[in-house]
Subunit: 498 residues, 4 copies
């Protein structure tokens, strides 16, 4: 396994949020995420600074800052400006929220895997990700928020606990262990068959000269120590570098089916934070369900003006996608690359609202590579986005925003500075479709087994494989697809052995 | 070895800046540092938000936000507001700049180690830290900045290359390896005698019931998995948790000599960033010394308006402490928890100026612990600062600021937003004196061997041991002190064996 | 007539927004308003600046900035922080929006003036203020916004044109003339019976030594030229300095009935700005009602991407107070001390939403004067606020915010930076009740004739006279009250003559 | 006299800063200035907002905001972005600082008026402007700052009181009266020969059909009431609308000599604010010169931590232009469109430093009009700037910045947020040269009498007439030139009569 990033934890692929430090001070984790996420396509900025000293060097008039890291081909209006990749072993393991709801039927209509099989695969994925909904049931805030929303929105909305890949520590229930790649491959570091190359760029795959339907080798560069290339041969090649770098590698290997990078969807994301109403907070005092916890807390901290233990776990509530309200909602408190609470508000009364809206599938919504020979800072063909939202998307987003403000006003008042707003395109980090699976090679990159059309031993993985417009978090779905793909990989390996 | 933080790298104690990702995009490393640094003493903020919805919960009138993580005992005016600790194995290995100049004689007048011996120890420390001054000699910018300052300031100022604990990679000279704890203890992970306990809080040391002059055991809590305590017995106990947490642990162990936490010094820090003058930049074109590099660059990038290769290493220049200008100066380009360049300026023409000013030694400048039973978020007695600068300090700082603006105007114009300014107290992260060594137990915590006065088997380490007012980076000095201490530890171990 | 401010226009009391300059560039008028509004009660700020040079002067530790202009007695939580006065002849004539709807019956239940009489007075006030609803009927945007809201909200909400004291210029219909004091008293500068003293502080009223029920004189200081006092004797004294300075002057004259400054109400204000939806904007092209205007515009400006003439008047739409939605709504585009559009948005597609919420009448909500001998910068007793919103107010505000987000989402998307938010208390500038009229001297300051209880020749005027909780703009109501008071004044004058 | 702006004061042309309100609260006057100053040339902004709701209207991809008020022809790099005009009767009378030093000989080398005559004219100008240097001699701060700088900088720098057009009120010395146009023409409102047309645009001057060397009439539009044109005939026409609108009107009248708008110079401006050192502040206590004032203040305000009366006038200190330091320096405290002190610092210890640097005279530095038929918001040909600083200017600016930081460090520490910086080009509001006087019609617009070359009865006035590179405030110089011009105008009038 080759990874362009470094291994930033002694446990391969562990979730960084498992650190005690960050579970105690979640605001600080915001910086860790910011440090890990590298924007994909940043248009160059104007380099003119009107207050710079006249003697200081400045670029030619009208020039933009053209240095590595900026993409001169990117039009701002079609960019996914906040789209980012992590360059770390177990990449998502800094920013992944571990939210893993089962997608609604409308979010899986184009998937070539038969419905019943996909259903089973989604269940297996949930098992492997250790998805649970009861790990926050001891939390006062979780129960309060869930019940309040269930009462206010009625049963049709299906308000429930958010299914999360997380396990509360039994020895020390203050902390949890978030699911990450180490949850699934927990023995790889000790498995002699497994080799991890870090800070190594897979530059391109080479066709097998003796078989045009097979990959014969991979050119890999050791970026750090030597800057030298090595050549790796394998029976099967799996490319799973995220929804942008996976098609990037195929493109750089001259594997460029028409669908590559197309049919790209990204979710819209609206966000706000609220401070719970006084009414809700004061209802805690007299709620018999919370009495024991409140009493104990107030005994220890009689001057605390809040009836909420300092270590009360955060709320983790789901409002699922429904046909009438086709968006996915997380009502919780978590660290993202934004949304820290700051010094003025007691974080125990702050709740985050994140609404994810799906995007129609449009062939022209796409990512391209290497226009005008531009390269990214790793020397790979630079990705450029051409993504806009359709009129239907815009209407749906408008309804979603209206729904978010309604839900917010049920719970509390907007936290000043975190008012209801659409976030920058790409911030959901839920790009799909760029290597979508499907039965028709004209409109897909890989088949239902995630095998790239036209190749025997080349597979793709990740959210790029999802062929549908989804609103919920994509990881569970892409894992379901990968499970089927893994079985196909095993078949190849077996047949090769034979 | 027990460490309260997690091991955030597969190599114990490695410098995070060694990642390819951050050497290519140093601005992003700013976030990593921010994520790692945890402020020591944060006064509670006003919790009133004038634009919060009237229905939302708010604290009692006039209340401050009193939750874990804020220190109700801290007066803002005597705080070192930007003072921070890292809670990571090899803590400094995120933010350490690796600058390791030899301290001026005036920076080591109170050290109880004989001058000649200290000199040798400082040399040994430099060897162990792999301190070099030639690793940026291939850089156009480094040579340009150094020469410009040498010419402008004259020989008395001693402008030179900054001594750095860094080694340029031979295989791939684009990258360097920064010195960190792994540089010195490179074999510990494989040494069977070494055990590392991470996310484990050393709560207190217990006196040996049979010998009041010895420590008999350490109470350590496994913070993460079990929240249980273990009890560790050893022949020798070394406390080296930084200049604040080292006295914190002693204090919590009821070892509280009068000097503990006192005689605290912290350096003032003034900072600005400049954009090199057009004159200096254009002088590169015709400088025969740079010709080959410039030609090659312009061949590859004929449209680049700058004659500086994209991978030209940054400048790393020193203006050393002198009696007439008693401050330490770094003219360089580096990632701190502040000072990212942003999208408007080409980072190749930006240079950082950091001026560090010493602080007089005053007994009343101190850190206290556990006032009014306050605890930090790890459950240890909360540190509170009482630190101000004297009138002499203020005068010296004023002269230092004047010097900085003069040096800046030689090189270029201020980068808008990074104007010449004093940074918040504590930002230098160079606290010394809190466990100072000395011959007099009335005014010091440990002897010249770093052994705590009155104990046979208790040693301290770190910048807190430095008894002097310093302006330069303290690591090399505290390492010199530690080398002597290590010899004394070996003596104890040998004698115990016997 | 004595006025503490200067006469900032050659026409006494004219509205500054009548200037061509500001009607062409309304964003710039924001600055004029800011310059005119002087905050009433500003709590002192912390004076510690953590990055100030150590050599610079700083106040004692923990000190607040105690200089003229700051009120050391003000608690932030009960302040009306954005409450401000203008010190200009015709004060409101910078910031007055001229919105003059007729108050709903629920907004005039406590008024001692008989309902039918009050109704007539309100009509006369509208006549005098030249209130009209048809002056924006030529505007495309006005008609579009009004129609859209009428369709979306239904007839029960009563969406209509905002009644405004404004007259479109007949000679040049691009501009309008806003009503101000000059509209009513247009001949005063030429009336020999009228004398205006500017920059003259009315310090106090003195009782008539021969008649305890009469005022015998006013002490007035010429602030500018001489700082000398003059003494003015009159038959009738009318104090009309706004809802704060009117009770201030009474208090300073030792006229301090129990109700003075009490029963204070201020409206809550929620605000956002939206960018019209593409759908609405594009509907203009095909609307036959707009065809002629659009065609003409596009003929002149064929490259303009908008079908809206550059000089199309702004929308001015009202959603009136109703029992079910007890708040007053302005959907318009106007200059306040906030809400300029900035360079990124075409102002033609931006619409402001302002929702005003009433506040329950509570005796303890009050303004006090001269606590601890504090003075304002004019040497008068400093006003201090003790105002909070009740639980019912908070609930109503929450519903109002929900309504505002719903209305906003009908029209467009939030303008980034102008998200739905509550503004700082006091920003509505609609304080009432501080010199309320009523029949019971125990709970009011003046009688139904605005005559101060217990005095024959002392009258009060302004919003402070309003005894009700109102949501709509108060000017028309306070003018209605003043009309009745004026009649009573005439009676006194006649009787004196006799 | 026709003026495009409104008359915003009952006294024609009075200085708005004479209001008591603003002399008591100078920070608020910043808003008044901002409201009065209208930027001349603002390049259109990008109109893309990445977080706008997808349903909201947005312009075509890549479009800039092209609406009235923005100049599509302006290149940012050659703009004088902060250059602004006031559209008010007595325009400068909001922002004019009244600083009127006598220009150094090097600042008047190109002036065609004989040196001795010019000297006399400058003296007469000073008389008319009521320029004095002693009006702040009672101020503690003024004397302290002046003496400190005199001691630190030595006699060669000529530190002295700033010559100001100001008169301290004798009746009430707390306030001053700033010189403005009303100071000179104090009787015009009552003079029956004088007519003022406000909000009236002089569109163009028409040649006299019978005499190509004479102007025969002026076309003036009543902007507000009717939008109609009137035609005014006069014996003499004087155009004095500021350095940009004067050439604008000539250009629009088809009077376009080669020098029109060329040879434009604008001063660079560097700025910072300092907080006086504790040493300087404390020196006040023991200074016998200040004893009486300090004692009286402390008697009244024993708890004030500062020995400075609240009404102590601000410092007003000059460091004049010298050959060795060719820049003009004001060390004072005043309201500009920037530089308010804010709530954290006691304004009594804050001092502003403003350094004005001259700009070489370059023919290509110019303002053009009406490119691509662009119009300003008054319908006149839009001005576009092509102004850059030469290499010599840049060097001089760099030395000036170095001098400013040195002077600042003598007095105190930088006020956080007001660090030493160059302000945006044009902020000095000291454009000269655009209608420069000279003997050679090839390089000037008017002769030494300010009469436009080739015309008998057309005169120009204002800073645009100055042919030199100046660093000091230009008003006194342009007034000296105007005095000579006025004499010539009288000659014409006399001859016409004859």
């Amino acid at each position: 396994m080759a990874e362009i990033g470094a291994q930033n934890d002694p446990i391969v692929g562990a979730h960084h949020k498992n650190n005690v430090k960050y579970q105690r001070d979640i605001d600080q984790f915001v910086n860790v995420i910011k440090g890990a996420l590298q924007p994909i396509s940043v248009p160059p900025a104007d380099s003119y600074m009107s207050t710079l000293a006249p003697a200081a060097w400045s670029g030619p008039h009208g020039s933009k800052l053209l240095i590595p890291g900026y993409n001169p081909n990117q039009v701002p209006e079609t960019n996914l400006r906040s789209s980012a990749v992590t360059r770390t072993v177990g990449g998502m393991a800094t920013h992944w929220t571990c939210s893993s709801p089962k997608p609604h039927e409308e979010e899986r209509v184009l998937n070539p895997i038969p419905a019943a099989e996909l259903d089973q695969l989604l269940d297996r994925a949930a098992d492997l990700l250790k998805v649970k909904t009861d790990q926050y049931d001891t939390s006062i805030r979780h129960r309060l928020v869930k019940k309040t929303l269930q009462d206010a929105l009625g049963p049709d909305r299906g308000v429930d606990s958010l299914p999360l890949g997380v396990t509360r520590n039994t020895g020390n229930p203050e902390f949890v262990t978030w699911t990450a790649t180490d949850t699934i491959f927990d023995k790889w570091s000790s498995d002699p068959r497994f080799t991890l190359l870090t800070e190594s760029r897979v530059t391109e795959l080479h066709a097998d000269p003796s078989n045009t339907e097979a990959i014969g080798g991979a050119l890999i560069r050791d970026l750090k120590s030597t800057n030298d290339d090595i050549y790796v041969k394998a029976k099967v090649y799996i490319v799973a570098c995220g929804a942008v770098c996976t098609p990037q590698l195929l493109w750089n290997s001259n594997i460029r089916p028409d669908a590559l990078g197309r049919y790209l969807t990204e979710q819209s994301l609206s966000f706000c934070q609220i401070v719970l109403t006084k009414k809700l907070v004061e209802s805690i005092y007299n709620n018999p369900e919370f009495k024991e916890q409140v009493d104990e807390h107030l005994r220890k901290h009689p001057n605390d003006p809040l009836p909420i233990p300092y270590k009360d776990p955060e709320p983790q509530v789901l409002i699922p996608y429904k046909s009438a309200t086709p968006w996915h909602v997380q009502v919780h408190r978590d660290a993202f690359s934004y949304g820290d609470v700051g010094p003025k508000a007691d974080p125990r009364v702050v709740v985050d609202l994140r609404f994810f809206g799906k995007g129609e599938i449009v062939k022209e919504n796409r990512v391209t590579f290497g226009e005008n020979d531009a390269q990214d800072i790793y020397g790979m063909p630079q990705a450029t986005f051409y993504v806009t939202r359709t009129a239907d998307d815009a209407d749906r987003d408008q309804r979603m925003m209206q729904d978010m403000t309604t839900v917010a006003n049920v719970l509390g008042g907007f936290l000043p500075g975190s008012y209801p707003q659409f976030m920058e395109p790409g911030l959901a980090l839920h790009i799909t479709g760029t290597t979508r699976i499907g039965n028709d090679p004209a409109t897909s990159v890989a088949d239902a087994n995630s095998r790239v059309h036209g190749f025997q031993n080349l597979f793709v993985g990740g959210n790029g494989c999802i062929p549908d417009a989804t609103a919920c978090n994509p990881t569970r779905t892409s894992m379901a697809i990968a499970l089927k793909g893994a079985a196909a990989v095993l078949e190849v390996l077996k047949s090769k052995k034979a």
